[in-house]
Amino acid sequence: MTDAAADRRRRLAALARADVGLLEESLDRLDPAPRYDVLKPAETGLVMVRGRAGGTGGQFNLGEMTVTRCVIRNDSGTVGVGYVAGRDRRKAELVAVFDALLQDPAHADRLERDVICPSERRREERRTQMLSRAAATRVDFFTVVRGG
């Protein structure tokens, strides 16, 4: 994977988990507002989630999840893609808009700071909180010596 693709992948992962309110606010702050054409209007569909037998063996179809996608092209001709878990069509469109903007060096640094970093930080905080709570439920075994 090229560096550009790796960057885009990391940003899309952050955007997919971003709070939709944060995306709307960031969009409102952009001046001028980004202009774009919708290539594929936001649409909700299904992605079949695959698992593996025993976790590591042959593949099988575990069940589906709802996913919403949207594809746009902005006025500089950059295509933006949004694929997010769930049924929020507005979010999928916003992700596609930011995906296109973030490919533009003129916007990338600022949006990285205003949108990507807060989303990544929030995910990390949530994860640390969950793992800290889990760690508090770890069993400390001790052996009771009988007789002696």
């Binding site: 992605v47 079949m48 695959r50 698992g51 063996g57 069940g63």
Partner: protein
């Protein structure tokens, strides 16, 4: 045979209006929101997602509200809804070893790397009704340890199988796409992929009873809970518009690795074999039952003698789906007037024949 019977429209409309009122219950009691069901009846939501075979907590909560809490009805609603959506594609296989773990226990190895992590569990509760919950109030916050767990915990069996006494599960090279029951009917012999998909969608009660039957001796396979883990797993997907996979988000999953004694066969040395169970959310009992039944259905593959219902692949797979099962059972409510009329005629004929046959005997006895 059913016949179209006209004239029920008004009765049906009125029945549904009454159902809507019953669903709401006493209007003096505040109405439940979908978000409340999603947050506070989470295990019901998880079961509906697992057996509805669709991960979407909000939709599952809505289905439960509409179904007045009836799980099988809610599962039916979710299955029906999914047929209205297009298939966008297929995820990369989940990497459950990289799960962000809330709970991870092993009943076979005490000292597992990362430790035994209980997570938010009903285990070790006293099963005494907690009347404090009848009053409203906030629980005290759960303690946090100063050091969080590692970001990922490797699979217990993979780490502690140094002697190679436990069967390994290796992804075959050049795998064909696995069977998909949402697009093709059950076929026999059923591949493990087809079986696992069927069991993952299967009715928890049915699988629980079958799993239990193997423990009681109907197809005994000496199971141990090798590892149970619950947490969040990243779902990756390769959009056609991009040349690489991206993360769609995270789903909550519970996975059970059952480890079973096995005496060996012509081709396999004595070892522990494995059964696998997995469910959306915190469906731990379902995942355990599924793992027991998955192992039981491997009877033929492992060269064991099939003697019990849980080992009968056709029996299990044909009867595990509660949407199909409820449909066929409940179709008995549809008008069978003509069927029954013809059966009445048959029984009348049989009765006459029996009486005619009895008469000469009775006369002879006199």
């Amino acid at each position: 045979m059913y016949v179209a019977v006209k004239g029920g429209e008004r009765a049906i409309a009125n029945a549904h209006a009454w159902l809507a009122e019953e669903r709401r219950g006493d209007p003096a009691v505040p109405e439940l929101s979908v978000a409340q069901i999603r947050e506070q009846q989470r295990l019901a939501v998880d079961r509906v997602m697992t057996e509805g075979s669709l991960y979407d907590p909000d939709l599952a909560a809505l289905a439960l509200k509409q179904a007045r809490g009836d799980q099988v009805e809610a599962i039916f609603l979710l299955r029906a809804y999914r047929t209205t959506l297009p298939r966008l594609g297929t995820s990369l296989p989940l990497e459950t070893a990289r799960m962000t773990v809330r709970r991870r226990i092993s009943a076979v190895f005490k000292d597992v790397p990362g430790g035994q992590v209980l997570g938010p569990t009903f285990d070790y509760t006293h099963r005494l009704l907690d009347f404090a919950l009848a009053a409203e109030g906030q629980p005290s916050p759960a303690p946090s340890a100063p050091t969080p767990l590692a970001e990922t915990l490797p699979g217990v069996i993979d780490v502690l199988n140094r002697e190679g006494l436990i069967e390994t599960q290796v992804a075959p090279a050049d795998e064909p796409p696995p069977a998909d029951l949402t697009r093709e009917p059950l076929r026999f012999p059923a591949s493990r992929a087809m079986r696992l998909q069927n069991l993952a969608r299967g009715d928890e009660g049915f699988l629980l009873a079958l799993g239990y039957s193997t423990q009681r001796g109907y197809g005994r396979n000496h199971p141990f809970a090798g590892e149970i883990r619950n947490g969040e797993v990243v779902v990756e997907f390769e959009p056609p518009e991009l040349g690489f996979a991206i993360e769609l988000g995270d789903i909550e999953l519970t996975e059970c690795q059952m480890v079973n004694q096995f005496a060996g066969s012509k081709s396999e040395p004595p070892q522990f074999t494995r059964g696998y169970g997995v469910s959306f959310g915190q469906g731990e009992r379902k995942a355990m039952a599924m793992a027991l039944v998955d192992r039981a259905l491997r009877t033929e593959e492992l060269g064991e003698e099939a003697t019990s219902p849980a080992q009968d692949i056709e029996f299990v797979l044909y009867h595990s789906d509660n949407v199909e099962a409820q449909g066929f059972v409940q179709h008995l409510k549809l008008p069978h007037y003509v069927d029954f009329q013809s059966e009445l005629n048959v029984v009348r004929g049989m009765r006459r024949a029996a009486e005619a046959a009895a008469k000469p005997l009775a006369e002879a006895a006199e």
